[in-house]
Symmetry: C2
Subunit: 303 residues, 2 copies
């Protein structure tokens, strides 16, 4: 079976290990801090690859940002990575094939091959953190679009009347309602609008300072305001997911990211199947966790 | 070059002709009325195929409704086609390959191969009639989803607060705002809400009876109410299209269907490129017209 060196380039650390064609990690997982300059990142990657060179067939890299159609460069701005990063031609790192892909697409590939989406035909992966990202694989093929930028699902609009400004400057992006930032926005709107706020455990807080943690903690404490905020957030999540179900006809939706533990996946699955015009979908939490980028990049490089 | 018999099964007529691998029609186009029963439709198709049998390699059928993954049957309800239609196994029509596909997907394939989308990598086709349908082809491959039902874009929600009921019974489907039905809904809402209605040429009409024709005609006559209704309809169109641009990263969006002549494609292209987070898209009107189903079914059968 062929093997890839999977490397996940994050803002703070670079994670790597050997992955086989089944998406299984077959070495120790190692990590180094992400260097501060593009030149140093390039050198660090060269050194990592040199250590494994004889054991591997290809190299897969997972990175933030949009990737070119040839899978050799990161094109878009990547706030957590240094200037000059976009200049790197990753294919020059070694004389074996080096394949770079966007982290959301890598995570989708990891879940499809050896995670929650294993065995399904069409896996839609939705990553819910500060924002919302996505990827879709159908019939074994990642959908990349004309320039490799597809699945910017966080920018899907869920209102058409310019109701709420997103941090990106546009209006009514799904991620301004249904991400971690979205939950904070729901908390703020709820504090101003819901009568339940008057009796809430947070009634003395500034509405801008109520955190996502406050809301999830408030739910545990049966705080009516927190429950109403959370339910509104889940409704926004649902609206986006049912639209994407009608658009992609997935048989599996995998939810990942920092907010995924808060999401009621069973409730979403039930509601989506009641509402969607297409056939049944299973909603699951991601299982590949922090290794998603590494596994997915390796699997895609081998594919 | 291989040839297909392309057949478009409509509610009132069946259209057919020979199409080559370039999507060019290379015979006369013929039509027969659609028979009233499923058995008669099956027999009519058998007769049509028999006439061309020696000249063709494969048969492509375009039909309303969702098609199974094997492209042999129509699964969903098709209000304009008779009971028993879903029972037909089209692969038994002759001993050459017979391939059936949903009409929206066929139209997308026709435009991609030999229409407005020719030469583009990722073509998103949006059909605007009574409702809204869609199809997408990227890298030569139609995106079908887990069960062949993808691209139900008309059901994408453009509000998340249950604002307007769609004819399908759900709330806030894009097609209830941006289709032909959507334009009528905009006219009604506008009659109730816009002060311009008081001075409109339609001020004495019942708001339920203002037609799409009234609005387009009113625009020609510089009626302020009609212009405002139309602009609102275009805004709803835009909101859906910019979301789909971020989702699919198409380099070409092709607009077709009965309402397509009313759509301001240049205005939409400009606004989408200003607003979308992904790279440039061209917006064009479809060019294959009434032959779209026939051409697309043939191209897909040959592909």
């Amino acid at each position: 079976m062929k093997k890839a060196l999977g490397i996940d380039i994050g803002g703070t650390k670079i994670l790597y290990g050997i992955v086989n064609e089944e998406g299984e990690i077959v070495s120790d997982i190692k990590k180094i801090p992400t260097p501060k300059t593009a030149d140093e990142i390039y050198l660090a990657l060269k050194n990592v690859i040199a250590q494994y060179y004889d054991e591997i067939d290809v190299v897969g890299l997972s990175s933030a940002g949009a990737v070119n159609l040839e899978n050799t460069r990161v094109l878009s701005s990547t706030p957590n990575l240094p200037d000059g990063y976009n200049e790197i031609d990753f294919s020059t790192l070694c004389d074996k094939k080096v394949y770079v892909e966007n982290d959301a697409n890598c995570a989708c590939a990891a879940e499809y091959k050896n995670g929650a989406g294993k065995g399904f035909n069409t896996v839609l992966m939705i990553t819910i953190g500060t924002g919302i990202g996505g990827g879709v694989i159908s019939d074994g093929k990642l959908f990349r679009g004309a320039k490799g930028n597809a699945l910017e699902v966080g920018s899907m609009k869920i209102f058409a009347d310019k109701r709420q400004k997103c941090t990106c400057g546009r209006y009514d992006c799904w991620e301004s309602y249904a991400s971690g930032t979205g939950l904070k926005n729901c908390a703020k709107t709820g504090a101003l609008e819901y009568p339940e706020f008057q009796n809430s455990i947070y009634k003395d807080k500034n509405c801008n300072e109520i955190t996502t943690y406050d809301i999830t903690d408030g739910m545990q404490k049966n705080d009516a305001y927190s429950i109403k905020v959370f339910n509104q957030w889940m409704e926004y999540m649902f609206v986006g997911l049912v639209s994407l179900t009608d658009i992609f006809n997935p048989d599996c939706i995998v939810i990942s990211g920092g907010m995924c533990s808060f999401v009621d996946v069973d409730g979403l699955e039930k509601k989506i199947n009641e509402e969607s015009v297409v056939t049944n979908v299973t909603v699951k939490r991601a299982t590949t966790g922090n290794n998603a980028g590494m596994i997915g990049a390796a699997v895609l490089a081998l594919g």
